[in-house]
């Protein structure tokens, strides 16, 4: 079953990615407004100049030629020129990837770490106040608009307590004497967006951890282990935790779609120069190629992550059969 299922799932994933590509292309053709007028704020442009620009960007071709060119260029890794930044899309995106990876990566680590601990405590003290509080926290953070949480965090930590800067990635115009000073400055800017992002994720992870642990703890072999007189902590560490980690790993991958949405909001609130804020800027500037590039990258990553999670899950967990 496994091999066939793997091939089938791979085909599905490829189809989905292809659909994303076509969808992506079509969507951006129907955006309102003429991209040329955005690019050329030049009232005195001659018709020849405008024509020249059209040719340069391939806008003079019929749609199917444009679609063909789009796929051809895509395969060559060429995402086109950004109208607004007047640079290749790939290099604009390239410059913005790292901040997002660092921020989201750190937030994930913090959230997973905190989520596991909280979930563990809740599962262990099932039915107590701590358990209920975990559920409450998880539900409230789930219900909260991410940007609003960010706003409140800025007010508390920057405006009132003056602990961290309000926005950006480094103090502007700063000349650093040592690399250490720069890293410290970077970290100071990193903390609040990371905190916001983590809070959004912690509830989710804690809840999953708690539920899986509860399941695991009621399994026969745990009961057996208990009966054999093993120490509680030992049982948790050696038996329960490893088994509960599986759904966590899957959840992290599946969660990526949610994380993308959160990233757009967090980066906008904190002016964090990553992919999320780039997407927002591109949307505002009607920079089609750039928006298309970011959207593509994000969607394909999510599809791939889901695919990997799906495969991993069905391979490792024998209970999942489809």
């Amino acid at each position: 079953m496994k091999k066939r299922s793997l091939i089938q799932k791979s085909i599905y994933a490829v189809i989905t990615i292809f659909a994303v590509l076509v969808f992506n292309y079509l969507l951006f053709r129907v955006l309102p407004g003429d991209p040329l007028s955005m690019m050329m704020r030049n009232p005195k442009a001659t018709p020849e100049m405008i024509e020249g620009m059209r040719q340069l960007f391939g806008l003079d071709q019929p749609w199917y030629v444009q679609l063909y060119l789009y796929f051809k260029n895509l395969l060559a890794g060429d995402l086109g020129m950004s109208f607004y930044f007047k640079q290749p899309v790939s290099s604009v995106i390239g410059a913005r990837i790292m901040p997002t990876i660092i921020m989201v990566g750190l937030a994930e680590v913090v959230a997973i770490f905190a989520g596991i601990i909280i979930g563990l405590i809740a599962a262990w003290k099932r039915g107590t106040r701590i358990d209920v509080a975990t559920l409450g926290f998880s539900l409230v953070t789930y219900s909260m608009p991410t940007f609003w949480l960010g706003m409140v965090i800025v007010v508390v930590f920057s405006v009132n307590l003056h602990l961290f800067p309000t926005s950006g990635i480094l103090t502007p115009g700063m000349t650093y004497q040592t690399t250490g000073a720069m890293v410290a400055d970077y970290i100071r800017h990193l903390i609040l967006p990371t905190l916001t992002m983590s809070i959004v994720l912690i509830g989710e992870y804690a809840l999953t951890m708690r539920n899986t642990l509860t399941d695991v703890l009621s399994e026969d072999y745990i009961t057996t282990a208990k009966a054999k007189g093993f120490d509680n902590k030992y049982i948790l560490r050696k038996h329960a935790l490893p088994n509960a980690m599986l759904p966590m790993v899957t959840l992290i991958a599946i969660n990526l779609g949610l994380v993308v949405g959160g990233t757009v909001q967090v980066e906008t609130v904190f002016s964090w120069p990553g992919l999320g804020s780039l997407m927002y800027e591109a949307l505002r500037a009607r920079d089609y190629p750039l928006l298309q590039g970011v959207f593509l990258l994000v969607t394909v990553s999510v599809v791939v992550a889901n695919f990997i999670a799906d495969i991993t899950y069905s391979y490792i967990d024998p209970r999942v059969k489809e």
Binding site: Y12, I15, T16, A19, V20, F23, L27, F28, L31, P32, R126, G127, D131, L135, L139, V140, Y142, S143, M144, P145, T146, F147, W148, M151, V152, V154, V155, V159, T166, E204, L207, T208, R210, N211, T212, T214, T250, L251, I254, L256, G257, L258, V260, G261, V264, Q265, T268, V269, M279, Y280, L291, V294, F295, V298, T299, V302, N306, D310, Y313, V320
Partner: protein, 290 residues
Amino acid sequence: MHYKEFRYRKLKEFFRAVKNNKMALFGSVTLMFFLLVAVFGPILMPFSTLDFGNVEDILLPPSGDHLLGTDDMGRDILANLISGSRISLLIGIMATLISMIIGCVIGIVSGYFGKRIDQLLMRFTDFFLVIPWLPLMMVLAAVLGTNIWNIIFVIGITSWAGTARIVRAQTLSVKERQFVERTISLGAGSKHIMLHHILPNVFPLVFANTVLVASIAIVSETTLSFLGLGDPSQASWGMMLHYAFESGAASAGAYWYYLPPGFCVVAVVLSFTLMGYAFDEILNPKLKGR
């Protein structure tokens, strides 16, 4: 195995564990409160408070005249919240309706006909399940332009996939039941069976799911508005937060401006979520256990 289902199942188990009754009660009371406010609010609140104030009315802290203070245009925040509740709830409910209809149609058709149609429709559904919702909504809202009906449409069209999946699964099981098989053998048309036999049996499950979708819809509206993609002529809670952010209410210390709309959103979304799980428990006892 997808995110929403995954989460859904886990939460549901949790619920059972902590005796959901109190929470369901909390959810329904809160939601009822907001619905009543939305429906009767305009009768209760002073009618002139939505007009723009004068310069001296700008960003007043809470007082006897203005229980929750005023905003940056000198309007009463409480009155704004009340009128915002109508718009936010309207968007949430309408978007959910669209999502429910699309989800039901696709789910039932897919589950009933099976084979190729099922394959095709489920690919289509998967596509909408995996695409990150916020970027998709942002792009669609920008394409269509910012008015309230477009926003409803955008949210509806991007959030039906989970419903479709659940409906399909339920359709598959209903289809196998004897009475449906008997109806088929009696020569009833597909349309008739789907409408009169499958839909009524699928509906309880859809209803519970719908309530959950509503919570997503309201958060979505708030987020789109915050990003400047809301309808400027409709002062929803999301638009209030957008204006609060734009006018720097947060750093000006005008907590009465940026906190209440946020609390309202959290309260309503929370109650929808709580009720959704509760409904599911009550209406679908069959689904207990895996």
